[in-house]
């Protein structure tokens, strides 16, 4: 009851009496890192970025970047933004909204030029780096959408991992048996819903602690799919575990846009459904009557109930919808990414999706970008280890998580869950 009134997007209201020095300090720290690293310690070589993939119609020449001037330029921009942010804060004004994003982009560019220039192999495929990032991000995006749908009605969804894994398993088996990829996709969605039904029944009807139900479901799906994999799938993989792959659909004209065209517009249907799901979820949640009801159930179920919204029905409904989305995302593993199911192949990505959702402030669009950032950081670590940088491998492995901590602590601001998240609703 004491929670402040918030805008529909869930941002905290501006408090103009308190000056928050957090952002300028973070900017300053990283500007110093940039100055010492990218500028003073620039490797003095050039870094080459290939921006055309083999099958592009228009072949562009690789971009060759001298590390010293670019390093200095990036460091100076970072310093300028830090100074500007100090002045803004001093004057009691808030930073413009584009600033953290611009700062992050300049920092990443500076870092890339510095690290590639200093590597054993100073030539990197930029297209490959970005394409791999998107591939790594697809299941995370579906998973975080599932989380958003479920948590916006107040049901904590730890079971994303289980929904993805169940989807991957069902897609592989159904597509193998039927020989039809679309049957596989349908089965994946249904499997995700089945996991969600258990989550919904136990957390909404039987009021079990939602986090515990979620964790238990993950263990259950892992055990069940692992058991079936050992006893059925691996005995006769030709029948049970050799699904066909989804065809790649190329969108004419758009696919020829340099760099991004081939990445965004040469996708399978699951990839395009992902874009659609992000947009539809966003519009649905924030610009429709349905979305208003859903959010009211997650923020203040009692008030929603008094207005005649069926709280538990809405909750169950949304949790299952989330399951369908995550299940569909699971089909990406076995129908797009690789061509068979193996034990625990989701490898904890459901939990990363959960982090992306929190990082994205329970908002589909921001969760989408958060997942892309995770994908980028993960693939960047692989690419950097290939190039042979002086940075030790263990540090590179930390990259995605360091990025998260910095971004969540510094640039995102307060991440506030729906007020009734995790609280079962008991009428009476």
């Amino acid at each position: 009851m004491s929670a402040p009134v918030t805008s529909p997007q869930g941002q905290a209201p501006e408090l103009d009496t308190v000056r928050d020095w957090k952002n300028p300090i973070i900017y300053a720290i990283f500007a110093v890192v940039g100055l010492v690293g990218f500028a003073f310690n620039a490797p003095g070589t050039t870094a080459t970025f290939d921006i055309s993939a083999g099958r592009d119609a228009v072949q562009l020449a690789p971009v060759v970047v001298p590390t010293v001037p670019v390093g200095w330029a990036c460091a100076l921009i970072l310093i300028a933004i830090a100074v500007f942010s100090f002045l803004q804060t001093q004057a009691g004004r808030k930073d413009p909204r584009w600033m953290p994003i611009a700062y992050a982009i300049v920092f990443v560019v500076g870092f890339l030029v510095w690290v590639v220039g200093g590597a054993n192999k100073t030539d990197v495929s930029l297209v490959g780096l970005l394409a791999g990032s998107v591939t790594m991000a697809v299941p995370l995006i579906f998973g975080s959408l599932s989380g958003v749908l479920s948590e916006r009605v107040g049901v904590i969804n730890i079971a994303i991992e289980g929904q993805l894994l169940a989807g991957a398993f069902a897609a592989a088996v159904a597509a193998s048996i039927s020989g039809n990829v679309y049957v596989g996709m349908l089965a994946a969605a249904i499997a995700g819903v089945l996991v969600s039904v258990v989550l919904a029944v136990f957390s909404i009807k039987y009021l079990v602690n939602q986090i515990i139900v979620g964790v238990v479901l993950n263990v259950l799906v892992s055990g069940l799919t692992g058991f079936l994999f050992s006893t059925v799938l691996s005995r006769d993989s030709a029948t049970w575990n050799s699904p066909p792959s989804l065809p790649v659909i190329q969108i004419p004209v758009l696919e020829h846009i340099p760099i991004l065209g081939g990445i965004l517009f040469r996708q399978t249907i699951v990839g395009y459904l992902m874009y659609a799901a992000v947009i539809i979820t966003y519009i649905g949640l924030f610009h429709t009557k349905w979305g208003l009801r859903v959010r009211s159930v997650g923020e203040h179920p009692k008030a929603a109930d008094t207005l005649g919204i069926k709280v538990n029905f809405t909750r169950a409904h949304n949790v299952m919808l989330g399951g369908a989305v995550a299940g569909l995302g699971g089909s990406f593993f076995t129908l797009v990414s690789v061509s068979q199911f193996t034990k625990d192949m989701t490898a904890g990505q459901g939990y990363i999706a959960l982090a992306a959702m929190i990082f994205g402030r329970w908002n589909p669009i921001w969760a989408f970008f958060a997942a892309l950032l995770f994908g980028f950081a993960t693939n960047l670590r692989f690419v950097l280890s290939i190039l042979g940088t002086p940075v030790p491998g263990e540090f590179l492995a930390m990259l995605p998580y360091v990025v998260t901590i910095v971004a969540v602590a510094g640039l995102v601001g307060r991440s506030r869950p729906p007020a009734a998240n995790g609280t079962p609703y008991i009428k009476g």
Binding site: V208, G223, K343, I426
Partner: protein, 376 residues
């Protein structure tokens, strides 16, 4: 109000109980120790009957017995012993490191004569349980420790020797002048492949004045590309695509099932005009992954199945010893697979050079160094 509250509590506790019991039951399905009778049907009835009270056991690491890798090979060794000797066997799969000791203890309590533990990761658990149970014998695959008691036989493999041959072959076969390798997790049984592969490429460069480049592993700094687990196939695929983008055309994935991601990445790259191939590890890829037979240049194989079977046979005959078994090119414990689909593509000279190098390694003239090589 009180009624509602107590009703609520009742519902919650019934729900929790039902849910957790069912989860435990299902999660337990995969790991319950199973016992099966020796099914030696044909011939040699008498010796088999004599062995039917011998119990051979096995505990996997979290990969499980169908990992198309060392757990599976070890299990096949035990199965082969069961068929040949008519012994009884018992198995337990570990889902997580916390299962290692309980699984080993349950084997000890079942009265196993010899328990095979699979993998580096079970090293500590095996050491501890073996020390507490000196009456029973143990054999551990892929790990050695000087502190082992004398009821433990380590089975280790100098994989670097075979990987050296594969590295030389890959360097001779690459058309882009770049080859690549990556690992699942940075542990000695993985890096030994990468070390040997790297050394083989260096040797090729020196002998032929060539400049073949290896991505993903640096033998000197012991740094390279690792996925971080043995499960995330998508990461294996993306990572392999990265290698191909950077110009590699022969890839050595040392990552168990994650290597299947490499198979998909190479398939896709070849569809769009590349000509990439794979060197598989542990077992012969041509047999282990039948749907991609045309992609395997060769495989770096460890004779785990045979050595597991041998140690059980020795124990059945009362000849168990704790002397470590070290698989080498010389005793056939490590080897490279036939070229299969590439038999016609590998030039004759290269084939004979590889035979010469193999002889050189066996004779000790060529030194294959790896930090991870087992002591002989």
């Amino acid at each position: 109000m009180k009624n509602i509250l107590s009703a609520t509590r009742r519902r919650a506790s019934v729900g929790a109980a039902v849910l957790s019991v069912s989860a435990l039951l299902l999660a337990g399905c995969g790991e319950a120790p199973q016992s099966s009778e020796g099914n030696g049907n044909g011939g040699g009835g008498e010796t088999k009957a004599a062995n039917s009270d011998y119990l051979g056991c096995i505990v996997s690491d979290s990969g499980g017995f169908d990992d198309q890798s060392f757990n599976q090979s070890s299990y096949e060794g035990l199965k082969a012993a069961q068929e040949e000797l008519g012994i009884k066997i018992q198995e337990a799969e570990s889902q997580a490191p916390t299962d290692f000791e309980p699984n080993l203890n349950s084997m000890v309590q079942s009265g196993c004569d010899l328990t095979v533990t699979v993998g580096f990761l079970l090293g500590d658990a095996t050491k501890k349980i073996a020390k507490q149970n000196p009456e029973q014998n143990f054999a551990i695959v892929d790990f050695n420790d000087p502190e082992f008691t004398d009821n433990v036989k380590p089975l280790v493999y100098d994989t670097a020797q075979a990987a050296f041959l594969a590295g030389y072959l890959a360097a001779g076969m690459t058309e882009t002048g770049t080859v690549a390798t990556y690992g699942g997790v940075k542990i000695p049984t993985v890096t030994i492949f990468m070390d040997g592969f790297d050394a083989g490429i260096d040797y090729y460069n020196k002998q032929n004045n060539a400049d073949v480049n290896l991505l993903g592993w640096d033998r000197k700094s012991q740094e390279g590309t690792f996925i971080g687990d043995f499960e995330n196939q998508s990461a294996g695929k993306t990572n392999t695509a990265n290698f191909i983008n950077e110009g590699a055309d022969i890839i050595l994935p040392v990552a168990g099932p994650v290597g299947l991601g490499t198979v998909d990445a190479v398939k896709e790259a070849n569809k769009s005009g590349k000509d990439a191939s794979i060197v598989w590890v542990d077992s012969d890829g041509y047999k282990a992954v039948p749907e991609a037979q045309d992609l395997f240049l060769t495989s770096v194989m460890k004779g785990i199945t045979k050595s597991v079977k041998d140690v059980i046979t020795a124990d059945v005959n009362g000849k168990f010893n704790s002397q470590p078994y070290v698989g080498t090119l010389e005793n056939g414990g490590v080897s490279i697979a036939p070229y299969h689909s590439y038999a016609d593509d590998v030039p004759k000279e290269l084939k004979s050079e590889i035979e010469d190098i193999k002889a050189g390694i066996i004779a000790g003239e060529i030194d294959v160094q790896s930090d991870a090589s087992p002591e002989q």
